[in-house]
């Protein structure tokens, strides 16, 4: 790979292991374990995307979102999703998160900035066709005494119209 040294290879490997682990927690519905791996000052955003002309600066809104979360609201969401009365996830949807194309952007010793792609396969009930959600994530992982935690996540969806009935899952 172009310009990758042994140490940057190791860093990427370490970040990938963390992303795979957190994806597994979400696919296995271990939502509170996942929530333990976000920092108390986490900034988590999923901006709304619109179809724009090629010449426009961005397709992503800076004021409207599908999710715009902090530690507390993520706690509310993950606890609610685990409740016996969360009808949209009981029976739960079957998800498989495929994380790929991990690219390290920066590492200042405390935090690692990276980009990665995520493709989520999602099915519910007797469905045979899958809902596919595709996105790029810009993550900031912070080194803590307990290992990496997610300090920032910006989810850039490849969708303008969300192609699934409910977003009662974490991206």
């Amino acid at each position: 790979m172009q310009g990758e040294t042994t140490s940057s290879h190791e860093l990427r490997h370490e970040c990938e292991a963390f992303l795979y682990h957190t994806a597994e927690l979400l696919d296995n519905r271990q939502l509170s374990d996942w929530h333990d791996l976000v920092t108390e000052d986490i900034d988590y955003r999923v901006p709304i995307r619109t179809t724009r002309e090629r010449s426009s600066d961005t397709e992503f809104s800076d004021s409207s979102f599908h999710m715009k979360e902090d530690w507390g609201t993520l706690k509310v969401r993950t606890e609610r999703m685990s409740s016996d009365f969360a009808w949209s996830e009981d029976p739960p949807s079957r998800t498989r998160r495929n994380v790929s194309n991990v690219r390290i952007v920066d590492d200042d010793g405390t935090e690692v900035e990276l980009k990665n792609n995520l493709l989520i396969f999602r099915q519910q009930g007797d469905e045979t066709e899958a809902d596919l959600l595709s996105m790029e994530r810009h993550d900031t992982l912070r080194r803590t005494d307990d290992g990496f935690k997610i300090a920032e996540r910006l989810v850039l969806l490849d969708h303008t119209i969300i192609p699934t009935n409910t977003l009662s899952i974490i991206l």
């Binding site: 426009s56 979102f65 599908h66 969401r77 609610r80 699934t164 409910t166 977003l167 009662s168």
Partner: protein
């Protein structure tokens, strides 16, 4: 095999009879023939919501919108007037606008280059003198919705040649809309949520006509998580009113009896910015005592105005969500969801109002996901052979018995009929289907 026409006729005949006993043939929630008729008779005949003035603040600002499934451009022209232009070139039909939103003085067709200004007039035809010298440009502007009007900044259009005025169509609904859009200068925050749901557009519409019965069961997970409104969590004593017989539209609202002003959960510094003189004394008193309020304007425009929070640790704020249930095939819809905040509130407050709205009602909304999660599957049952062969009907008879808790308020000050214990009647929801039936069988249409 029954033809599509006979099928629609049979279902409408059934509907005419069953509405009298508070029932609705379930087939209408997923039937191709009924759906085709709806596009024509409902969306092709009534006023349909297009967008809010704050979405196109400057001349040239545009947003793509649909009426039924038909493509239109909602644009503010050079003179500041709202236009609803049919997004199809007068030459060979190509889309002249291909972005969801933007600002432009002209729409230029990518096919052969015909160019229209933002009021729809044809202003340019390449090689006109060599090939189109016979063409009268004045007659070849973009087609436009024949009726476009706004009520307090809410822009509607109607594509039928003949239409009542918008105010006539809204009727008693204006009394309620004044409380949200005249008392308060509202603005849309950002872009609407859009998502695709496997349900008929009528399922959420009937719900937002005032299904207040489903809240304790359907939304138990969100209420237990501590993110409900003060009235939903029982923190404040209140009475729920349901409004029926209101020119085809319906409303539900909590009234909190207290000297403390409520105004849907807006704090005093925001209430200070309201236009208190815009309302009659009666309207103002209802607004002052209002907790969660919701309703629907026929055919497919619903709203919910609530004071709530996205985290039990945070302050409650008022948030207003406007939603349009777009028909996208029998048993399928697209939801478009706009979040509004009072224009003169602080930026921080508007941001909080947005966050609370988004966290409650949106594709990821703590309340909305359970609604949609429950509705999922209604379309399969509605489209079944069994439902057709066995006259399966859904039921809207709550509150029709002798000991009904819901009672008519004799001294109600607003339009329509008001019910106390408004969660215990189906009258408002029945109004939706009565209006639907009347519109589907109105011979003025097709």
């Amino acid at each position: 095999m029954e033809s599509g026409f006979n099928r629609v006729q049979r279902i409408l005949d059934d509907m005419g009879d069953s509405l009298d006993v508070g029932e609705v043939p379930m087939e209408i929630l997923n039937n191709d023939a009924v759906y085709e008729e709806e596009l024509d008779r409902i969306f092709g005949q009534t006023w349909v919501y297009i967008g809010h003035e704050s979405e196109v603040p400057e001349p040239g600002d545009y947003r793509q919108r649909t009426i039924g499934e038909d493509p239109f451009i909602f644009v503010r022209d050079e003179d500041g007037e709202f236009r609803v232009l049919f997004n199809s070139c007068r030459h060979r039909g190509a889309n002249v606008c291909r972005a969801e939103k933007g600002n432009t003085s002209h729409f230029r067709c990518p096919y052969h280059g015909w160019t229209y200004d933002n009021s729809g007039d044809l202003v340019g035809v390449p090689q006109k003198s060599a090939g189109f010298d016979h063409l009268d440009a004045d007659d070849h502007g973009l087609h436009q919705a024949p009726h476009v009007d706004d009520y307090k900044g809410l822009v509607f259009a109607c594509i039928a040649p003949e239409a009542p005025s918008l105010e006539e169509h809204l009727g008693g609904a204006t009394w309620f809309l004044d409380m949200y859009f005249d008392l308060i200068d509202m603005e849309v925050i950002g872009d609407p949520h859009r998502w695709e749901v496997e349900n008929d557009w009528k399922t959420p519409t009937e719900n937002f006509y005032g299904d207040n019965y489903h809240i304790p069961m359907g939304h138990k997970s969100a209420i237990e998580a501590g993110v409900g409104s003060d009235t939903a969590t029982g923190e404040k004593e209140s009475e729920l009113y349901g409004i029926a017989d209101c020119d085809g539209h319906a409303f539900s609202f909590y009234q909190i009896e207290s000297d403390e002003p409520s105004y849907w959960g807006h704090p005093p510094e925001v209430v200070e910015t309201f236009n208190h003189d815009a309302l009659t004394e009666e309207q103002h008193e209802v607004a002052r005592k209002s907790g969660v309020t919701l309703g629907t304007m026929f055919p497919n425009l619903s709203f919910i105005f609530l004071g709530g929070r996205d985290d039990p640790e945070k302050e409650s704020v008022g948030t207003f969500l406007l939603r349009k249930w777009e028909p996208r095939g029998a048993g399928k819809m697209e939801v478009v969801n706009w979040i509004f905040a009072p224009k003169h509130a602080s930026d921080e407050y508007k941001e909080r109002a947005y966050e609370v709205g988004m966290s409650s009602f949106s594709p990821a909304g703590n309340f909305e996901v359970d609604d949609v999660g429950i509705w999922y599957g209604i379309d399969d049952a509605a489209g079944s052979v069994f439902a057709r062969k066995n006259d399966v009907h859904t039921k809207f008879t709550m509150g029709s018995g002798d000991n009904a808790a819901a009672t008519v308020v004799d001294d109600w000050v607003g339009p329509g009929t008001a019910y106390r214990e408004g969660g215990m009647t189906d009258e408002n929801q029945l109004d939706f289907y009565r209006t639907w039936y009347e519109t589907m069988t109105d011979n003025g249409g097709t």
